[in-house]
Symmetry: C2
Subunit: 494 residues, 2 copies
């Protein structure tokens, strides 16, 4: 933790660029991504290096993810709590691997009010080291176990580059921290939480993922085992979207978290931690978006449908019918908005397409005369079969509910097809290296599990293992030729 | 913002004291308060100066308050967003009054990773100065107004003393920030949000409050008008529990937030901000608690009722009946828990009384034989009429729902009676000073409104104005004899 007196590249960062039109997604994913994040008003760049503002539409999206996770955490017996933002330096230094992993990323508070502090305070990059001493305080006997706690908080990790949701100095996440009486219980917890991440990613965000253990070099600093969910982005890069860690007794030893077992012996607890951040939203945006902007899977959509009245000046009947329809849809528990802005319908269409609202309801004077409305699906391309349906006004709510299910299923199927066709079992070593350099997707090989082998692949291709799963039968590592011990997905990653 | 090189009194703070029994509330409110906060497991002291950990039961209480407020914010058209934790120093310096008010309380980040920053970053003590530049970026025309945004965040204000919920270095709160096209609209917003605070305090937390404007010396730094809700604690001190500020065009000028009006003229917006923190929980604890611990108003209670089976060893029928009852109550949407711990019933009773659970359901073998359960109200003293009722098992849910309403009403009535009897219109100047020195409650006088007068009263009695309301008719200031301009509540305060 030396303090070279260098000056950073400046705290300020450029203003959010004004995006007139987003570039095609296929041309440059990164440019498309940033443009759509700003244009759809998910985020703005903040006047603080590396930080973004989550705007109301972006925050509403985050609230959907929070609700889906929080409900599942509580259903599995977890409770929320809140631990301090600031961590005295001496606490951070107690777990050696952990401090080595995190200290290069820590923001330090050195002054409070007008006083210089006698000890620096770290802004939490993660909270194991402030939670450890509390658990040591709270846990006396096996009767106090398990402790199953989660917190929803902001964390800070000093970053050089900013990419909305994917990499920011400050980000929002949840971190679960549990303590158990035995190693098998802790392992069960880690698996349970990984499965919740998989379920929320796939069934709610419609983002297919691979689950598995991380290699030792990709493990969380201080963990004995790290498991992850890994999604594949359209540019062939993987995005780690949630992690679940067995911490063994490492933190229990460092923070002296002991309990009296049923047999009266004094033992160290077994701890776990697990986290998902707003990064998951980045995966959702990249996986589902298209040249017209975002596409929201219905279960994550802050707005499931928008009603756009097609109005001729002076004709109030359409507005009244649209308001009636809005009330009907809200009454059915749907998240719906009516767009009464003084804009042309075409501009409104483009606006809501950019925001990815799953269904647009068009309602004009002729529709009302015929007693119908037109429902337009955002998940279908323009002109694609089934993209537009005309529905009797009385049936819009029930039809919409069915359509939202269909859209959710269709978006997951599309994303799954992409993952399937971009998961490639390499045939030989040359092909393996070639596919990685081409960034062809998740490259699946029997692997030796050795850190040196992984380091070599990284130097050659910038790819790393994403996660691992058991090997069936004997095989040779396709990267190096040593005996294989696992199967691994390799990919370049965010 | 000088930096004397003094050393603070040490970052570490004592461990949470182990509380065996809480002292009587009447003997020393402050000792009772801290003891009950620890004993009921609302909070623990953290190993960081001035900070507490919000434990699961405390956080569940906070979640109830968050839900009550958030629902009302959304129903009045507000959306949530998230702005950065860290604020570059130059932004803080733009609004002069504001910086003078807050800079003595700011925690400063000076290093990120291993680098010294070229500009210090403040941890937000409140967010006007980071939100201002964003609004300047987002607002172009009257069509963009109003902007109605809230955020739920942690803030840091450097404090010397720690009192759970009432005064901590870091605390959780919400801060609303709105921008409007005209002063009357901004004023309407400020009144609307103050009224939501009053409603949540009174109708949800069962804490009666006085609403009114703050005096100029008690105003938020940078505001043109500050309004507050003020509750009265059992020791005769007032607790400011929520504030709503008209910021005029002060921040609009400082951060250049302009809009093109309908008549094409370029104008500064009118902004407001308003906040309620976990301090409201401190009011709830002090107002309602008794010698047996917390008393939770039902609408805030994380657990509305606890079922305690009175079991003889080997008799499973009671446990089974208790589980059936639990299912019945949960099915009715009640927040209920079954206590199956291996403890004596008396210990369980004391435990849930300490936590303030509004209703305890006792169920023994005789009850089951008779087809009844006993409901015990936490709001009544031991032996008080109506404190225990025997109810047919099939009717427990409906009876409980009615009882919870009664308890809510009764607790608000009790607290209102205390406020009423401790609000005293002083008869003359001598009595006024005497009552304040005695800490007799909210002392109500016609007041001149002059800062010098308020300062004199403060020097003499340590009391200040809490809030003000219009005066009817001519009167003389009871503090100084000058002509009165308002009526004011004076009290010592937290």
């Amino acid at each position: 933790m030396s303090e070279p007196n260098t000056v950073d590249e400046g705290v300020a960062q450029p203003k959010t660029p004004l995006v007139k039109e987003i570039p095609p997604k296929g041309a440059d994913l990164s440019e498309w991504y940033q443009a759509v994040c700003y244009k759809a008003e998910l985020v703005s760049l903040a006047p603080v290096r590396g930080c973004v503002v989550l705007r109301p539409y972006g925050f509403a999206l985050w609230e959907r993810l929070v609700a889906a996770l929080d409900e599942r955490f509580k259903a599995t017996g977890h409770e929320n709590a809140y631990f301090p933002l600031l961590i005295p330096e001496h606490l951070l230094l107690k777990e050696q691997e952990h401090v080595e992993g995190f200290s290069p990323e820590v923001a330090w508070v050195t002054h409070g009010g007008n006083e210089r502090l006698s000890e620096r305070l770290a802004i939490r990059p993660t909270s194991e080291v402030i939670i450890g001493p509390m658990y040591a305080d709270w846990i006396r006997s096996y009767r106090d176990l398990p402790i199953l706690i989660n917190q929803w908080v902001n964390v800070v990790r000093w970053e050089k580059r900013t990419r909305p949701f994917l990499r920011t100095t400050e980000f929002l996440w949840q971190e679960g921290h549990t303590a158990h009486a035995s190693e098998p219980e802790a392992r069960e917890e880690v698996v349970r939480m990984l499965d919740i991440y998989r379920e929320v990613a796939q069934d709610i965000a419609a983002v297919p993922v691979y689950t598995g253990e991380k290699s030792s070099s990709e493990r969380f600093a201080g963990a004995t085992h790290t498991f992850s969910i890994e999604a594949l982005m359209p540019d062939g890069r993987a995005l780690q979207s949630g992690t679940s860690h067995e911490l063994g007794q490492n933190f229990a030893r460092a923070y002296d978290i002991k309990f009296a077992a049923e047999d009266q012996s004094l033992q160290y607890v077994w701890t776990t931690s697990w986290g998902m951040s707003w990064r998951m939203l980045g995966a959702l945006i990249m996986v589902h978006g298209d040249d017209r902007g975002l596409r929201m899977p219905p279960k994550m959509a802050p707005i499931e449908a928008v009603v756009v009245p097609i109005v001729k000046a002076g004709d109030d009947r359409v507005i009244h019918a649209a308001r009636d329809l809005l009330a009907q849809l809200k009454g059915s528990g749907l998240r719906v908005r009516l767009d009464e802005r003084d804009l042309r319908p075409g501009n409104k269409f483009a606006d809501w397409e950019m925001r990815g609202v799953p269904i647009r309801v068009e309602l004009g004077a002729n529709d009302i005369a015929a007693g119908v409305a037109t429902l337009v699906r955002r998940d279908k391309a323009k002109g694609e079969a089934g993209g537009k349906v005309t529905v009797a006004l009385a049936d819009v709510a029930s039809r919409m509910t069915a359509l939202l299910e269909e859209i959710q299923t269709n978006m997951f199927a599309q994303a799954s097809e992409f993952l399937r066709t971009h998961t490639i079992a390499a045939g030989d070593t040359a092909e393996f290296f070639h596919l990685l350099r081409e960034r062809a997707g998740m490259i699946d090989i029997p692997w030796c599990g050795r850190a040196q082998c992984e380091a070599f692949v990284k130097v050659e291709t910038s790819a790393t293992t994403r996660n691992l799963r058991p090997l069936d039968g004997a095989a040779t590592c396709l990267a190096c030729g040593e005996p294989a011990t696992v199967r691994a997905y390799f990919a370049q990653s965010y």
